[in-house]
Amino acid sequence: MNPSRHAIILVVSSSHAIRAEHVLRQAGLETKLMPVPRTLSSDCGVCVRILAADVATAESTLEKHRVPYEEIVPM
């Protein structure tokens, strides 16, 4: 895995991660659920990894489906 190729979407709960992954996959994006890096959060939840090139599409897709997220950060 080349870390610079990816970004992660931070959400408040695993339910939101699954919801986000669902709408992003419907939009044709490549996604993977993964644990939130401990440097970003002390939470025990999951986040959604996407391709760094897809960040803009992900933002618009999540907004279109009104899926709340905390932030999208490069990794």
Binding site: V12, S13, S14, S15, R19, P35, C44, G45, V46
Partner: protein
């Protein structure tokens, strides 16, 4: 063997339902939302798919506002006990199940004022009778969509309109209708909708929930249970966002896998087709029973105005004995008595003896209905 107790739980289930339950336990048996590994994610997808399927079938726009729990009673308790405070006024109907009445009576003891609106002898509610009892303190209208005793379908959208005209939200109990009768929560402007997974949604027992409409402010509803959610673990207070605020503790993921399969089966067959089938066989049952001279059939007697539950009595016959004979001599399974709904029986005039309830479902055949009519006729002859 003839199963006519679908108002208690649907049987049989589509074969895909137990298959999905077993596959979930075997292949996705991890805890959703508690870890990030692949099997936990598979389980989390099952939970999400359940939210999505329920929302889509019942006309709710946001799957994240589907709160999943063990059953519809839990969902009704969440709404009633989470929303109503001493000094509030709540309106319900005389046709309710004890899943509504018992929490309400307990709240009444704690200072919540309760109005129980009477219904007609066939169980029908006049929406204007709700308007007449609403006060400035009214915080909620709660009612079933279809009676579990006589099947009578209530004018939910009209009651919602009446309640909203006074700024009051409505909680609809769809235990007897979800999956069997077309429901459009958003179009009907239902604020809160409680459902069960194991009746006409064709899923397993141990599944159900509460759907919150987009206009409903969940900040004013307290959780029924608090605890681990897998989110915000650094905090010792319950998160305030949906669905986690109301979903503490490990989910019945195998049950939800079965519910997803059950709803997929309904989708394949079509709610309209299921409704047409159940209407036809329920009318066949009503018409057959009405030809028997010492048998009384309750409710609207019009299958287009009711769900599958048909209540009857035989003059001078103990309903318990009739139920026993149906099972013992004819292999027909039904439920007799008060069906956890004393108010409904008072309304139709069968309290405290109760009725014999025959409830057809999506799998019931015309031959089974005819056999049930013959069996009731033979038993009724013994009392003629």
């Amino acid at each position: 063997m003839i199963y006519l107790d679908n108002a208690a739980t649907s049987w049989p289930k589509p074969p895909s339902v137990p298959e999905a339950v077993a596959a979930c336990i075997a292949d996705a048996g991890a805890n959703p939302g508690r870890a990030g590994h692949r099997m936990a994610n598979d389980a989390a997808h099952i939970v999400y798919n359940a939210r999505d399927a329920v929302a889509d079938l019942l006309g709710a726009s946001d799957p994240m506002r589907v709160i999943l729990g063990p059953n519809v009673t839990w969902a009704l308790n969440l709404a009633l006990r989470g929303l109503l405070r001493p000094g509030d006024h709540v309106v319900t109907t005389a046709m309710e199940h004890n899943a509504v009445m018992r929490p309400l009576r307990a709240l009444e003891e704690r200072g919540v004022a309760l109005s129980v609106v009477p219904c007609g002898p066939d169980g029908t509610l006049d929406p204007q009778s709700v308007a007449e009892v609403i006060t400035p303190d009214t915080a909620l209208v709660v009612m079933n969509h279809a009676s579990n005793v006589v099947g009578t379908i209530q004018p939910a959208a009209e009651v919602a309109e009446v309640a909203h005209a006074h700024g009051v939200p409505i909680l609809l109990d769809t235990a007897q209708s979800a999956g069997a009768v077309p429901i459009d929560m958003d179009a009907w402007q239902i604020d809160l909708l409680a459902f069960t997974g194991h009746k006409s949604l064709a899923g397993p027992m141990g599944t159900g929930g509460l759907i919150l409409s987009e206009r409903f402010d969940h900040a004013k509803m307290e959780p029924l249970v608090r605890g681990g959610t897998g989110s915000h673990s650094e905090e010792e207070t319950q998160p305030g966002f949906l669905p986690d605020k109301f979903e503490a503790g490990t989910m019945n993921v195998p049950g939800l896998a079965g519910l997803v399969a059950g709803i997929a089966w309904i989708r394949e067959r079509g709610v309209d087709d299921i409704r047409a089938h159940e209407t036809a066989i329920t009318q066949r049952l009503i018409d057959g029973l009405r030809t028997l001279p010492n048998v009384t059939v309750y409710g609207t007697q019009d299958a287009t105005k009711q769900a599958g539950a048909v209540s009857l009595t035989i003059d001078d016959a103990d309903v318990g004995m009739v139920g026993f004979r149906l099972d013992d001599e004819f292999g027909i399974m039904c439920r007799v008595g008060l069906h956890c709904a004393p108010g409904a029986h008072r309304t139709i005039g069968t309290f405290p003896e109760g009725t014999i309830r025959l409830s057809a479902g999506a799998w019931t055949t015309a031959d089974e209905i005819d056999a049930a009519i013959v069996a009731i006729a033979q038993i009724a002859e013994d009392y003629a």
